[in-house]
């Protein structure tokens, strides 16, 4: 392997990893506040791509406006999921909420299959994302530059929201102790709704960027990226936003490097990712940057 091709592989890994990172932030955000895994996250991700696709392709809106509306619709969907599916189970055992999340995920996927059909559609990519840049011999897609920039800005915005605003303070309080926060007169339902809106908007942005990199959208496109982002969130330390980014890059680079150095094993790249998940759950369930929590499961 030459240096140029090695560098190219690193860039391939960074590019894939930053997408996982963006998705993982959404998982970790909801987990951090509510302590449960929103398995429908990957499907909201799919909806983000579809909403934008329809806004741009059917309603012929300019690209940026279509994406903004698509992401906003995702936030609304996220809030509806919370209101309809999760809120009635707020006081039920964790496992019920988890099963409901899987149910919501299947519901969205199959609703997609029935309404838009199973045949994949091509996603319209703007020139900005499509252009290829050459850096030290490696060829890099425009979207590869944008994803880390967007991920980091999203991260900064999130950190600001969580640590510098009233709403963020309430969110942190809810994550520490929901009952006491309620006693202090905070409208918990509103805080949780807000969390879901944020998380789902992130999923929507992730969906659009994913579709820019791999311009193929279908109702089941969210499943695997969703699971891998979940793995990334666990590896980085679930509940920790910076950890999610670190985890995303680790997963992305691992995947690419396995295929690059062991071509014979490329069929097992997903298996490797999930082996990492199992190892982390066994050895260090709190992840790389996560703090050990006593109560949460």
């Amino acid at each position: 392997m030459t240096w140029v091709s090695f560098f190219q592989q690193i860039m391939n890994g960074v590019s894939l990893g930053s997408l996982y990172a963006l998705l993982a932030i959404g998982y970790t955000l909801v987990y951090g506040i509510l302590g449960f895994i929103n398995f429908a996250h990957g499907d909201v991700f799919m909806l983000g791509a579809y909403f934008s696709f329809f806004m741009i392709g059917v309603f012929l809106l300019p690209w940026w406006l279509g994406v903004i509306i698509g992401v906003a619709l995702c936030a609304i969907v996220g809030m509806s999921i919370e209101r309809i599916a999760y809120r009635p189970l707020r006081d039920a055992p964790r496992i019920s909420a988890l099963i409901t999340a899987v149910g919501v995920s299947f519901f969205i996927e199959n609703l997609g299959l029935v309404t838009v059909g199973a045949r994949p559609k091509g996603f319209p990519r703007p020139e900005l994302m499509k252009n290829v840049y050459i850096l030290a011999g490696a060829r890099i897609q425009g979207v590869t530059f944008w994803v880390p920039i967007i991920s980091v800005s999203v991260l900064l915005v999130l950190l600001y929201l969580v640590y510098r605003t009233k709403m963020g303070m309430a969110m942190r309080a809810v994550s520490k102790d929901m009952e006491t926060t309620r006693l202090m007169g905070v409208d918990i339902d509103r805080i949780i709704l807000y969390t879901f809106a944020l998380g789902s908007a992130l999923a929507g942005i992730g969906g659009v960027l994913w579709a820019c990199k791999y311009p193929q959208i279908n109702p089941l496109m969210g499943t695997f990226p969703g699971w891998k982002a979940f793995t990334a969130a666990v590896v980085g330390g679930i509940g920790n936003v910076v950890g999610a980014m670190v985890g995303g890059f680790i997963i992305g680079l691992t995947e690419i490097m396995i295929v690059a150095f062991f071509p014979g094993l490329s069929g097992y790249r997903d298996a490797f990712v999930f082996t990492i998940l199992i190892i982390f759950l066994l050895v260090k369930p709190s992840g790389i940057l996560g703090e050990t929590l006593k109560e949460k499961v």
């Binding site: 059909g117 199973a118 091509g122 060829r139 791999y214 193929q216 690419i256 071509p263 490329s266």
Partner: protein
């Protein structure tokens, strides 16, 4: 106020009464409908369709289903004086689901013959079931040689992969003048693995050199690692014997990574999705295909293509035509069998000789239909016929 209230309750009562009458009427209607359904069922010839309506290769299943239905309009929906009834079950592009669908069609729906899954992996799962229950099954497009090997009740309307890969290697060597080739095939699909291996052997036999062999899996979206390695080996042509979604994404990423050489695909690429996903990056891609659907060779082919264009306003693809072929072959076999006995239908199907179908002439030998292989090329987003390879 009281009067108003009384009027209101009166209306409400009436409403409820009306509703009751409506419900009872509806029940009677449902009963009649179900009885008539039973009566109808006794008079029809049930043909099963075990197809990919959802899942990874939904395009094939949907195209074949459309083809079967259009052929039904073209060649008629009556055989042995009975109406043909098509029963569709979605196999979700999945092996296990395909086997379940076959069992359901045979045991519950009592079909006498079945149009099988489009892809080889699923067809391999369906074959043993049909063998055991002695129900003939014909796949429109399962090309793996293993599909029909050693089986009495399994048929196909298309060519075989060993022939297809040889034709591709021959085309790459003599027409594209390729000295070196790389292969990127999907190891989760029997079809792709077999094609990759056959191509490798044939390409080396014809004096070429295979410089890199890489694998991916169905559902993968990122191929940048494999393609970087391939581009590093600098082949004249990349052989991509995969299904349309993967092929389109591979072409797009290969071009983004700076590959400027030729790309050669197989019949799995022959779906409109190749262009809708791949866009500019699939321009100039060659692939081997089942039929040139812009020109009909037979009379029913002409009718089929005309009806298709009229209905959809675009050119039919090879999969629709092959779906039509399967229907024509089945109908002809039932006609010659003279009765609805699956074993007799199977014997008649095996005896199919010089039957005019949608894509040309069908002659079945050992379950296979030997047909010429066509090469197509993507030009301005449309599949253009390049040449026919006889073997």
């Amino acid at each position: 106020m009281v009067i108003l209230w009384q009027v209101f309750t009166k209306i409400l009562e009436r409403g409820i009464l009306e509703l009751r009458r409506l419900i009872s009427l509806f029940t009677v209607f449902l009963l009649v409908l179900s009885f008539s359904g039973i009566v109808l069922a006794q008079e029809t010839v049930k043909i099963g369709a075990n197809l990919e309506i959802t899942g990874g290769v939904a395009a094939y299943g949907q195209m074949i289903w459309e083809g079967v239905n259009i052929a039904k309009e073209v060649v008629g929906d009556e055989v042995l004086g009975k109406k043909v009834e098509l029963v569709l079950v979605d196999n979700k592009s999945d092996r296990v689901e395909s086997a379940n669908a076959a069992t359901r069609l045979i045991d519950y729906e009592k079909v006498v013959v079945m149009v099988g899954p489009a892809i080889s992996g699923s067809m391999l799962a369906v074959g043993p079931i049909c063998e055991e229950k002695q129900i003939p099954v014909i796949s429109a497009s399962a090309t793996s040689p293993l599909v029909t090997q050693g089986k009495k009740f399994v048929f196909r309307a298309c060519f075989r992969d060993d022939d297809q890969a040889k034709a591709a290697a021959q085309f790459a060597r003599s027409e594209l003048q390729a000295q070196t080739a790389a292969i990127l095939s999907d190891i989760a699909q029997d079809y792709c693995v077999a094609l990759g291996n056959f191509f490798k052997d044939a390409f080396i036999e014809k004096g070429g050199q295979v410089v890199s062999e890489q694998n991916c899996r169905s559902g993968d979206q990122d191929f940048s690692a494999q393609l970087t390695t391939i581009i590093n080996a600098n082949p004249d042509v990349i052989y991509v014997p995969n299904y349309y979604t993967e092929t389109a994404l591979i072409c797009q990423q290969a071009r983004d990574l700076g590959y400027e050489g030729m790309i050669l695909g197989a019949d799995g690429a022959d779906a409109p999705e190749l262009v809708s996903i791949g866009g500019d990056s699939v321009e100039g891609v060659y692939f081997t295909a089942h039929a040139d659907t812009t020109q009909a060779i037979t009379e029913i082919g002409q009718k089929f293509f005309d009806l298709y264009r009229e209905k959809h306003g675009r050119e039919p693809s090879a999969f629709e035509a092959l779906g039509g072929d399967s229907y024509v072959i089945i109908l002809d076999a039932i006609k010659r069998a003279g009765e609805l006995d699956p074993v007799k239908i199977r014997d008649a199907m095996e005896d199919t000789e010089n039957l005019e179908v949608i894509t040309g002439v069908a002659t079945i030998v050992d379950g296979d239909n030997k047909k010429p292989i066509v090469v197509k090329r993507v030009e301005n987003g449309v599949f253009k016929f390049v040449t026919t390879i006889e073997y």
